[in-house]
Structures are given as structure tokens and as C-alpha cells.
Point group: C2
Chain length 338, copies 2
């Protein structure tokens, strides 16, 4: 039974904690929270709470929230820490993990070289096998790796061009924008192109990213130059054996990210999350060797199953396919929506 500490209980941390709690081969040792807010109160019903330092212990006491000690205490109780702290903090926290000899998983906000390997369950599970420091790539890169891996392994990819239309901020945020603007990343390729290459061996990749005023999901327009000519059905069929890809259709009234999220609410997995990458069936087209499709990424949750699988790879618990299917089954991934 692997003991998992969760450092940071925001969008990703709280979801990883829940997902770990669903597994039979791992358990949540505790979570780290730094302010005694409503989320701490909710978390305290299910998880042991640790705080960054002794001063915070008093703060939580005053708020009437029980704590179990500091982050150092949690280290002693953990085999691995999932670091879900804000972007850039993971690198600093690494010293702590090294000091306590615990393994750690970082999220996509950290640099690739913070860890020994970047991780996507489908595309490079084995590269993290037995490793101490692993990084799960970002929600966008995970989305690209998920759908490009089947194409890459079954058909072969020469090059990829993708435009990533990113949600402005997450639904729980009331500060960030844009409110009424489209904000491109002026660096081309955006950081997603090199990031994708850390988990998937393919040729030339170009990515262009821009933020838009919505909170629900990212949407990707993907073009992949394949190694041979195939039909649109072949592309769809290459996706079909991968449960973390969900085909959706305008014919069923799924016209936008709004309906995809509504669908996820009806299925009602934890927090109405959609762990799968949604691909619009009718958007899949092939012209010559160029396959084109549109997919939607639930930024809050698509990386959660990858965090679970990464733990199994790092502790050499299960082979890829067995880990993926275990995670999928416990989390409800691939469960019929309609």
C-alpha cells in the first residue's frame, strides 16, 4: 500500500487526493493546506491536514480546523508526494522531498528537467518506471498526447500542427481574464510543442496558443501529417480502443464545450469531471496524408488519471495497460455517457 502525500489542495491536488482514495494499492497519507478556508473545512472531513509551518498550526486551531502537523511530518508518513502547488513552487519543494527521501510527482507547470521523466500514461508510461521524480505534463499537452499517441502508434505521424484555444481561467477563479478579448501567446511555437516531445516521440511539432474568455475547457484544432494515407474512419477507429478518448457529435446536440460539460454533469462522476478528451466525430477529416480534428480538454481533470498511473510506474506496481485499466475502472473513465 503506497502512502501518498498531497502537497497543495487546489484544482489538481484535491482531485488527485480523491482519485488516490479510490485505489486499492495506494492511500492518502495527508494533504497540505496553507489557509483555513472553506476548502480546508471540506477536506478535513476526509483527509488528514498538514500545514506548511508551525505558525500555521495556530491559525488553523483558531479556525477550529484540526491539523496533524507540518509538511515535514507528512513527509515522514509518505512514500511519494504529489506536488500540486502553484507553478514554479515544485522546483523549490524538490529539496524537501530529497531531504526526506520521498519520491515526488510534479505537475505540468514545472520544467521538464525538474524531474527525471515527463509522463503520459499512453505514450511513455515506461520511462517513469522505478523513477523518483516524475512530472505529469499539463492538461493541454496531456490532451495532445492522448489523441496523437494512437495515431502515432497505429498509423505513424510525420509532423503535427495544433492551435490551442485555451480557457481564460478555471471556474473557481474570480480574478483572471480575459473578459472580452482573445490573447495569443506571441511565442511560436508555444511551450506545448516542446512539452509534447517530452512524452511522445514524433517529428516536427508546431503549436499556437491563445486564451479566450471562457472557463469550461480548452479546444484544440489539430492537424497531423500521417506517414501513410488513411481514411477518416481509420483515424476514429484508432481512437476507439482508448477509453481516455471520448467521441462526441453535433448530431447528438453536442455543439460546444457547454454541452460537453453538461453531459459530464449528467454522468456525474466526481465533481462532474470529464477525465476523457472529447473528440468531435464529424470534425475528423483526412485530405491526402493530413488528418484534421477538433478536441476538447477538461483542464481541471484530464491529468488526474495520469497522476495515479505515474505513481504505479514509479513504484513498479503494474504494467502500463493493467495500471490504465485499473485507474479507468475505479474512476469511471470510459463509462457510458449516452
Amino acid at each position: 500500500m503506497i502512502k501518498v502525500g498531497i502537497n497543495g489542495y487546489g484544482t489538481i491536488g484535491k482531485r488527485v487526493a480523491y482519485a488516490v482514495s479510490l485505489q486499492r494499492d495506494m492511500t492518502v497519507a495527508g494533504i497540505v493546506k496553507s489557509s483555513p478556508d472553506f476548502m480546508s473545512r471540506i477536506a478535513s472531513r476526509n483527509f488528514r491536514i498538514f500545514v506548511p509551518d508551525k505558525e500555521k498550526v495556530k491559525l488553523f486551531q483558531e479556525a477550529g480546523i484540526k491539523t496533524e502537523g507540518t509538511v515535514d511530518d507528512l513527509m515522514g508518513d509518505s512514500d511519494v508526494v504529489v506536488d500540486a502547488t502553484p507553478e514554479g513552487m515544485g522546483r523549490k519543494n524538490k529539496q524537501l522531498y530529497e531531504k526526506f527521501h520521498v519520491k515526488a510527482i510534479f505537475q505540468g507547470g514545472e520544467d521538464h528537467n525538474t524531474a527525471q521523466a515527463s509522463f503520459n500514461a499512453y505514450s511513455n508510461y515506461n520511462e517513469s518506471w522505478g523513477k523518483d521524480f516524475v512530472r505529469v505534463v499539463s492538461c493541454n499537452t496531456t490532451g495532445l498526447a492522448r489523441t496523437l499517441y494512437p495515431l502515432s502508434s497505429e498509423i505513424g505521424i510525420e509532423s503535427v500542427n495544433a492551435t490551442l484555444v485555451r480557457r481564460g481561467t478555471d471556474p473557481n477563479d474570480h480574478k483572471k481574464g480575459p473578459m472580452n478579448a482573445i490573447e495569443p501567446s506571441l511565442k511560436i511555437p508555444s511551450h506545448h510543442a516542446p512539452d509534447l516531445k517530452t512524452v511522445l516521440s514524433i517529428g516536427e511539432v508546431n503549436t499556437v496558443a491563445m486564451k479566450v474568455p471562457t472557463t469550461l475547457m480548452h479546444v484544440h484544432s489539430v492537424q497531423a501529417v500521417l506517414k501513410r494515407e488513411v481514411k477518416a474512419e481509420d483515424v476514429l477507429s484508432s481512437f476507439s480502443s482508448y477509453k481516455r478518448i471520448l467521441p462526441v457529435s453535433g448530431k447528438d446536440g453536442v455543439y460546444s464545450t457547454a454541452q460537453i460539460m453538461e453531459m459530464a454533469k449528467e454522468r456525474s462522476l466526481n465533481r462532474s469531471d470529464l477525465y476523457e478528451i472529447a473528440v468531435w466525430k464529424e470534425s475528423v477529416s483526412v485530405k491526402g496524408r493530413v488528418a484534421s480534428y477538433i478536441q476538447a480538454v477538461h483542464q481541471e481533470s484530464d491529468v488526474i488519471p495520469e497522476n495515479i498511473d505515474a505513481i504505479r510506474s514509479m513504484f513498479q506496481l503494474l504494467e502500463r495497460d493493467k495500471s490504465v485499466s485499473t485507474t479507468d475502472e475505479t474512476m469511471g473513465i470510459g463509462r457510458k455517457v449516452y
Copy 2:
């Protein structure tokens, strides 16, 4: 002096009327309005107002707005009509124009085959030379033609792939969405790809389009496979002699469509419009023969100069470059912003 009737006084119609009024070789014969709203009152200060039928005359009278007759009367006074009625109505109106033997310009919402030629000033001015029925392509297609024409004529283009992130609706609208969703066009390529080919002879074109919750501008992520290897500077330099392309930069604080529109307000051309296509300088990159860049399109106004030039081509008034420079000068296009 060409007498121009304007049928429809919405986003495009009112701007074309203003632009015509700036020219020395054409004049506004009158405009057609169908409801006596605030826009009719404003228009009546500058233009003669005609209504669709006799019943409407009374309606306008009751509202205290003077009318000059019906659309049939305007036909008698016009050499050409700019049809800026809602999408799909232009085709129906064509019978009227034929009956009165007036030339007509349709907008991008109509099918290509409604007219004898589709029009973009840079890319195919001469195809409308002396024609009776011409269609100015949509704001998005105009944006693509504007920046691809210089690349096509100076370097050569083999194929184009573009993702069009479209504003959800225009600023004056309070009904349409999306409010918090990304809505892709599930047809790939979107209609923009064949539309672009009606005005620019290039090879394979793929376009993917999606609507997002903003009203300001469209943003395009464009990738063009060129016929030879060039540098990013060469791409920028090919744009530089075209005044309807405006280079902007994040270095000057122009990070999104919000700042581009703010900049246009500071320049204060009519209605704070931006007739030029804005291209982010730092987004221009070349890898091998693939040029990539990001541009923003002011959907309300980029087609306005094209309507003026189309009139000149249809009446064989001026050669392309002379018409374009006359339009640019009168409308303030290319005027220094900063």
C-alpha cells in the same frame, strides 16, 4: 460620379455609406432602413432614407422620420447598390437589381455564385472589372486574403492551414452567444477554405473555425507552406508595402484584441474602426518552408475599403493600385497609430 444605394444599414451598410461619402468619384444615393429605430434617426441626419415598401412609409412618418420613398425609388436613383442585408437575403434581392438594371455588390454571407466574381482588392481586383454583380468576401476571408496575397505573390504558397477563432457576436448585439463556451464549426474545412479560393489562387487550403465569447475581433492562427525557404524578416517585409496590414507588438503592450481595439480608439478613425489586419510581429516565425503567424481581424470594418474598391473595379474607374491608394488615403488606412 457613381450613385451608390445602400440596401441595409446594419454593421456593414452604415460603414459603407460613410466610406462612400468620403470619396470624390461616388456619392450615396440613399439608404434603405426597415424600422424607425435610433439608427434611422441618426442616419437621417446624413442620408436620404428609403423603406422596403409603402406600409413602412407610414410607420416612419408616425415616428417623425422623413423618408424619400421605397426601395424601388432608390433603384431609379442608383448606379449600383451595396447589398448589406442579412445573410441569404442578397440572393433574393438580386431579382430587384436585375429588374432595375443596377449593378450590385453582395457581402460575404451570400454564396459565391450569387455574383459573377468574388472580390478582394489585393488579390483579384481585376476579376470584377466591368462586372455587374460582385461579392465582397467575408471579414475572415478578407483577413486571410490580405496577408496571404503578399506571401503568395512575393514568395509563393504551396498550401495553407488556418485556425480561425471567431468573436461570438458583434458589440451591438445583446442576443447571441456563446457566453461561456467554445463552439467549433464541425465541418472541416470550414467554409472559409473554399471561400478564400474564390479570391486567391493558391493550392490546398484547410481552415478550422470556432466561436468564442468575445465581441471585439477574430484571431487567426495561420500556417503557410511556402514555395521556398525564407526568414521571418522576409515574411514581415512582404507585408510591409501593404497598408491594409498593420504590424503590432507585445513589446508595445499589445497583448490581445483588447489593446488592438484600444489603439484604434486612440487613432479615432470613423467609429474607432480598424480597417487594417493586425499581425503580431513576434508571432511571425518560419521553420523550413512553413511560415506561421497570428493576426486579428476587426470583423465590423475590414471589408469596408473592399466595398469601395469593388465599385471602382465594376465601373472601371481606376486601376487596382490607384483605387486602393485613393480608398486608403480618404479613409485614413495606414495612418500612423504610434
